[in-house]
Symmetry: C2
Subunit: 335 residues, 2 copies
Amino acid sequence: MIKVAVDAMGGDYAPGEMVAGAVEAVNAKPGIQVFLVGQEQAVVSELSKHTYNKDQIQVVNATEVIATEEPPVNAIRKKKDSSIVVGLNLVKQGEADAFVSAGSSGAILVSGQVIVGRNKGVERPPLAPLIPTEKGVSLLIDCGANVDARASHLAQFAQMGSIYMEHVMGIKNPRVAIVNIGAEEEKGNALVKETFPLLKECKGINFIGSIEAREIPHGGADVIVCEAFVGNVILKLYEGVGATLISMVKGGMMSTLRSKIGALLVKPALRETLKSFDGSQYGGAPLLGLKGLVVKTHGNSKRTEVRNSIIQCVTFKEQDINGKIRQCLDVQNEK
Amino acid sequence: MIKVAVDAMGGDYAPGEMVAGAVEAVNAKPGIQVFLVGQEQAVVSELSKHTYNKDQIQVVNATEVIATEEPPVNAIRKKKDSSIVVGLNLVKQGEADAFVSAGSSGAILVSGQVIVGRNKGVERPPLAPLIPTEKGVSLLIDCGANVDARASHLAQFAQMGSIYMEHVMGIKNPRVAIVNIGAEEEKGNALVKETFPLLKECKGINFIGSIEAREIPHGGADVIVCEAFVGNVILKLYEGVGATLISMVKGGMMSTLRSKIGALLVKPALRETLKSFDGSQYGGAPLLGLKGLVVKTHGNSKRTEVRNSIIQCVTFKEQDINGKIRQCLDVQNEK
C-alpha cells in the first residue's frame, strides 16, 4: 500500500482542486492511500462533494498555512503546524512515502531538505520539472533548488535525472545533455567545462554532449542538465514565450471578421495540439535525492495535475527510485 | 556621409541577399555609402541584377571566406584576406564607420575586439541583440561575447544598453532590469547579488530591479542585463520555443478538413500578427563598446534584415553613440 501526503492548502485553487485531485487519484488507483493535510473543516467540507472509497483518504489536521511570499526559512521554523511542515513530517516518520504540494516553492525546497533529509550520497537535491517538447517531455534538472552549484553536483543531477526518466517516465536509455552555448566540447563557461569530462566518465548514463537552448523544445535530449539559475530561466522563459505566442495567435485570429470565422473552425483542432504542449498533464516537479519523495506542482495546478502527481509518486515508490539512486551513487563513490 | 562596410560573403544566403540588402539600404538612404566586401566577381555579378546609384556602392575585394565552424582565433590569424578581416580593417582605418556581417559569430566577436579595439573605458564589449516582445522590442545584453563576466562588466552593459535603446531605438528613459530567479533583491546567484547594488548606484540609467525570464516576452523591461551564458540561453530558447509552437499551430490547423478551411481564413491575419514577433525586422545585434560599430545579423538573414542593419548603423553614427558611451563611462570612472 503506497501512501501519499497531499498539501490540501497550497496553491491558487486550494483546497478545492487539491482535494478533487486526490479523489481522482484514489478512484483511479485502488492500491493507494492519500493523507489530505490541512485545515480539517475546510478539507472535510470539500471532500463531502465527492464520491470515493473512504478507506483510501484520511484528513490530517494542520491549522496553519505558509503563504508564497513568506521567507521560507522563517516560515517553516515558526509555523510548525502548517500543512507543509506537517505533511513532510509524515514522510520523515515513514507514515507517508511522498508529499505533493502546490504551495511555496521556497518553503518546500528548504523543508524538504531540513525535515525529510537527503538520500545517502546525495550532495544537493535538485528540483526537476518535466517540460513539454515536440516529441513528448524532457526533464530539466536543476531548476531552482541550488544556485551556484558545483560540477560534482551537476554530475549527480545527470545520474538522478537519468534514473527518473528511465524508471518513472519509461524512456529507455534516456539521452542526457548539458545546456551549453555551442555544440562543441570546448565551448561554455567555467562550470560547464569542468562538468563536461565528469559527465563523459559517468557510468550508467547515456551522455550525448552539449545541448543548445534552441534544441530543447525540439526534444533534443531527455535529461537536460544545468545549474539552477539557468534552469529557472529556461523554465520561466518557456512559459513566458509560450503564453505570449498563444495570446498573440488568439489575438490575430480575432482581428478581422474573416479570421474570426476561421478561428471557429480551427479552434477544436488547435486545442488538441496545444494540449500536447502542456507539461502539467505529466504531473509536478520531483525534488530528487531526498529520503522520501517530494513533488512540487505548479502554483496554479488543478485536479488533473494533482492526480497525475500522486500517481507519479506511486511509480516512484514502486520502482524504488531512491534505492536505485543510492546504488548508483555508491558505485560512483567506490570508484 | 556615413560609410558602412558589409560582409558580402557571410551568412546562409550570401552573397545574393547581402548584396540585395545593401542595394535596398542605399536606395532608401541617399546620404550613405556601402562597401561590399567579398570575392569581387561574385559580388559584381550579384550587383548587376539591381538598379541603384553607382556612387553609393563600392566593391572591396577579399579573396577568402571564414566558415562558421572554423575556430575563430585561428581563422582571423590565417585568413588575412577574408571578408571579415578586410571589412573590420576598413573600420579600424576610419574608412568605414561600421561593419555588418551575417558570418561566423565567433570570428566577428574576436576580431571586432582585436582589430577595431575597445572604446575608451569599456572593459568588455557585449553583443546585444534585439528580441521581440508583446509590446515591441527589448535589448538583451550580453548575449555571447563574454562568458564568466564580472559584476562591473554587467554594470557597463546596463549603461551601454540604455544609451543604445534611448538614442538608436528612440525609447525615452528605457527601463533597465537584471535577469533573476525571483523579483526580490535578496534572490539570485553570487553574480546577480554583487551586480544588483552596482546597478542601483549607476547614474543615468532607469534601473527597475530584477526581471524573471517569464516577464521578458511580455516586455517587462527595455534593457535586459545578464551575463553571456544566460543571455545565449534566453536568445536561443526564444527562437526554439517560438519555432516549435508556430509549427505546432500550423500542424494543428492542417489536422482536420474543418480546421484546414479555417486555416485559409485565419492565415492573412495571423501572418500580420506573427510578423510583429519577428526580431529581424529591427536589424542585427550590435557589438557595443568598440571604437567603431560592428553589427552581427542572423546567419539566415535575408535582404530586409541586412538593409535594416545598415540603417541601424546610420542612426548609431548620427547619434554619436560611441561618444555618449565614452562620456557616460568617464563620469562613472571619475566618481
